[in-house]
């Protein structure tokens, strides 16, 4: 029997999906475009950012939007020393759970910092907006340590 060679070839599985957002996600992204951050009130009154369409406990549709602050505190974070090609930075950065002022539930986004040592749970961060906003989650380009007032 013939011996096979090992045949390896790279390929890309790619498509640009066209997602419709529905009213809740759409409202959040619309506000992002206008550089505002909105959450939604859950059935227990907690403010969830980004807004969920359906309450995790009661399964009811949610609709009460609340604007939250653009600063908040780090609840937890992961320091990425070696960013992957798909990641938003090509230098070390953090993914973090960030509880924005006025929100009760953290959102996950990236944080720019020089080193892991700059960051800590409880550290205050603020949103940095993209130069052009278009109604996409990356309109918040990243968070960075908040300036002391």
């Amino acid at each position: 029997m013939s011996q096979p060679e090992v045949l390896t070839q790279a390929f890309e599985l790619g498509f640009t999906y066209t997602r419709s957002t529905g009213p809740v996600v759409g409202r959040f992204l619309t506000e992002l475009r206008d550089r505002r951050i909105f959450g939604i009130k859950g059935s227990d009154g907690r403010v969830i950012v980004p807004p969920m369409e359906y309450d995790p406990v009661t399964a009811e549709e949610l609709s009460e939007f609340v604007e939250v602050g653009q600063q908040g505190e780090i609840v937890s974070f992961a320091w990425v020393k070696e960013p992957r090609a798909a990641h938003p930075f090509d230098r070390p950065f953090a993914w973090a759970m960030i509880k924005l002022d006025g929100a009760d539930v953290a959102m996950i986004h990236c944080v720019a910092a020089q080193s892991e040592g700059e960051l800590a749970t409880g550290a205050r961060v603020q949103a940095v907006w993209a130069d052009e906003t278009r109604g996409f989650i990356t309109d918040i380009r990243c968070f960075e340590l908040a300036q002391e007032n």
Partner: protein, 387 residues
């Protein structure tokens, strides 16, 4: 012996090219909420959720049950995701039924969906793979040669497919949820439509749709208390065979014949054309009606097209065995949901709740789905009576 189970709630979305007004969760939720409302139930009444869809590549969301948990009120409950290619809507319903028929659960919700407008179905079904010839011509390219072989064997006239295309679109015009609404369609219009995959014309093929379908399936005692008539599940069957093997019968796959024999035996059906009142059968390309008429035993081999041409499967012509009174896959095709829609529409018929496409007095109906290279089959028979 399996416990008795019944469909007690059915919910669907309107099928359309693009549901631009909802998220993926919103689409799935709409069908589920409609099913709950139909059953007179709330989210807390549901013990488990069984969800199905075709390849994740259609929406680019991997294992979407993970993201859909909250939309389906599933936090703290079991959730199972089925994927058996195009038959998935049917097999999802069967897996859901097994949750109740096994005596494990009293009442479950099952949902199947596709939001095909998020991508391009043709792309998702023919993504490039290294070292293979890029000749994949979509589902039509796969099935057209098989149809050609059926035409050769059966010596059916060329216009059988055209007749099916018109018949199902006229059925669909009675169904407000159907995607294609073509009440004025003519044989000539179908015949003159663009040839896509010779011998298949544009109007002989299914559309690409967004949509979701859901059902609530309950145990015997709960079904009896249900506010609307239950559709009793009288038989369930699945069969699979490989896509390709030497000597495979592609025109009338053995898996389809075996699956039908199994489900008929459970439901006590000896002559499907006589014993069943109607059938919702997965016909994505017009010629698959005569082919499945034979495969499912409604007609002898080589004779299926005659039933079609006689009008036996047409509601409008007063046929004795209407096929796809809802308009079928030829009118609406959210791939992952298409099988479940067949199963749900069969249940609607025996509940007497099919509106303008109701088959008068329907008591026993077949739901059918197939997928892959016509190699995965799932079927159920539902009835207005328990036995």
């Amino acid at each position: 012996m399996a416990n008795l189970a019944a469909v007690v709630g059915i919910g669907q979305t309107k099928y359309t090219t693009k549901r631009g007004d909802v998220s993926i969760a919103g689409l799935v939720r709409e069908a589920a909420a409609n099913a709950l409302e139909d059953a007179g139930l709330g989210w807390d009444d549901i013990e488990a959720v069984i969800i199905g869809k075709a390849p994740d590549m259609f929406e680019g969301v991997i294992m979407p049950e993970i993201y859909l948990t909250d939309a389906l009120g599933c936090n703290g409950k079991p959730m199972l995701r089925v994927h058996t290619a195009g038959s998935v809507g049917g097999s999802t319903a069967l897996v859901a039924a097994s949750h109740v028929q096994s005596g494990t659960f009293k009442r479950v919700l099952t949902v199947a969906f596709e939001k095909q407008s998020e991508s391009n179905a043709m792309w998702a079904l023919s993504t490039p793979q290294p070292f293979s010839v890029h000749l994949n011509a979509g589902a039509g390219g796969y099935f057209a040669p098989i149809i050609r072989e059926y035409m050769r064997r059966s010596e059916a006239p060329y216009d059988v497919g055209i007749k099916v295309a018109v018949k199902d679109r006229l059925h669909g015009a009675r169904n407000p949820l159907a995607h294609l609404q073509k009440p004025d369609i003519t044989l000539q219009e179908v015949e003159e439509s663009f040839m896509l995959w010779d011998p298949l014309r544009f109007l002989e093929a299914c559309p690409s749709s967004d949509g979701a379908c859901a059902m609530v399936i309950a145990s015997e005692d709960l079904a009896e208390q249900s506010p609307k008539p239950p559709a009793w599940i009288r038989g369930v069957a699945m069969r699979s065979e490989p896509t390709m093997y030497a000597g495979r019968e592609e025109v009338s796959p053995q898996a389809g014949r075996d699956c039908a024999a199994d489900v008929y035996q459970q439901a006590g059906i000896t002559d499907p054309r006589r014993d069943l009142d109607c059938a919702e059968v997965y016909v994505p390309f017009s010629w698959y009606e005569p082919m499945w008429l034979e495969n499912l035993g409604f007609a002898a081999e080589g004779e299926g097209w005659k039933l079609t041409m006689e009008g036996a499967t047409s509601l409008d012509e007063g046929g004795d065995i209407p096929w796809n009174p809802s308009g079928g896959v030829l009118c609406s095709n959210p791939i992952g949901a298409s099988g479940m829609i067949r199963f749900a529409e069969a249940a609607r018929q025996v509940r007497g709740d099919a509106g303008a496409h109701q088959v008068e007095g329907a008591k026993l109906a077949l739901g059918h789905a197939y997928g892959g290279g016509a190699q995965f089959f799932s079927m159920w028979v539902v009835g207005s009576e328990k036995s």
